[in-house]
Symmetry: C2
Amino acid sequence: MRASDRAYRTLLGEIQDGQLPAGAVLGEVEQAARLGVSRTPLREALARLAADGLVVQQSPRVTVVSDVDADDIRALFEFRRALEEAAARLAATRADPAEFAELAAEFDRTSLRGEGREHYYDLIARFDAALDDAVDNVYLSSALRTIRTHLVRVRRLARENPQRLSASVGEHALIAHAIAAQDADLAAHATHVHLHNALTSILASLAEARTEPGAA
Amino acid sequence: MRASDRAYRTLLGEIQDGQLPAGAVLGEVEQAARLGVSRTPLREALARLAADGLVVQQSPRVTVVSDVDADDIRALFEFRRALEEAAARLAATRADPAEFAELAAEFDRTSLRGEGREHYYDLIARFDAALDDAVDNVYLSSALRTIRTHLVRVRRLARENPQRLSASVGEHALIAHAIAAQDADLAAHATHVHLHNALTSILASLAEARTEPGAA
DNA sequence: CAGTGCTTTTGTGTATACATGAAGGGCGGC
DNA sequence: GCCGCCCTTCATGTATACACAAAAGCACTG
């Protein structure tokens, strides 16, 4: 693997994990030395992170990990709503109904059995991949990939409670059913509802975390 | 200005102008020599172009200018529709009505006087800037900027006729009026109509250009 | 003592040298 | 004569050296 890829993935993971918190300064020489690569591939990694919006050039000389506050999350979800509603509509038109019927059944089963976090996240990831595949639009997929990159960090900031997770499974089931039924309106509206609930939960969790900053 | 910026802008302009046609191979040493910069800033420029989607890595070793065909344009407009409808809705909620009333009046005047191409494109650019400003969402604005970058090339491929241009002014006037009236539904639907008409015109022009490939 | 200007230092921007790997051509064998 | 292997070459990936600019610190002056 290329050194620039390693640097990118490492930094990406560290930013998503919170090991590199918002505001952390990323000096080229410093990070290059730490990651064991030279400045050239590290610069490329920083450029990619900047294109993703995960780091920003605070001043011409200093690159920092971008901040994430409630307003950012609202903006992200505005963007996400526009894209995912469109994606849901397109998938309802183009997707293989059988594939989404199968996904819907899996969501239903997961909801009943109440499985763990990792099973749920894995299922979500497969659902997202199927959506991307069905939509078959590189512009949309690329933008959705960027959003998901940011969402990893947002989820970490606002640790979702099991109750919300369970509700989310049901919402996904409905979206998958709608796509399988080729009902574009329902798919879009169910997506809207899902994102509304997700945002509400995240903002509530964030506000809660602010009042009692412990438990880190 | 930085050498990497110069390289980026030059290459961007040449791709948008068609001087670098789709499929053109961009070797690092070759382009670096041609543009009078070294490989390091040129690589950065290529990376930015790749992030924009204007060049693609055809194979691990060769970077080419991305192709634009009718399917690409349809995909671009699907994406654009999702974003601009959302932007129109948000602008209708958040924009300063007076600003868009003024823009709407300018569109009306332009429509009456039948001014030239450059005046129209300039007005559109100001409208887009006002929209970006009103929406106040970096994710949306960033995605819209990417779209506009691609649109320059699309417009060049499908030279729009004066008739379509004139109709487009009227469609923009309606969108601006809707935003000024804070009518989100009308703004979104007028945007949808506008993009539908624009896409139809572009695809027709493209099909026409294919049957008579002269007039280049 | 404070303010200003100079100097030093540090970090980025750029150029170039080196390593590595793939692709193409040529030569040899079958 | 054709196929396959090896060698050469050239492209990218990486490392590093150099240049420049900005910021910080110190010293000198008012």
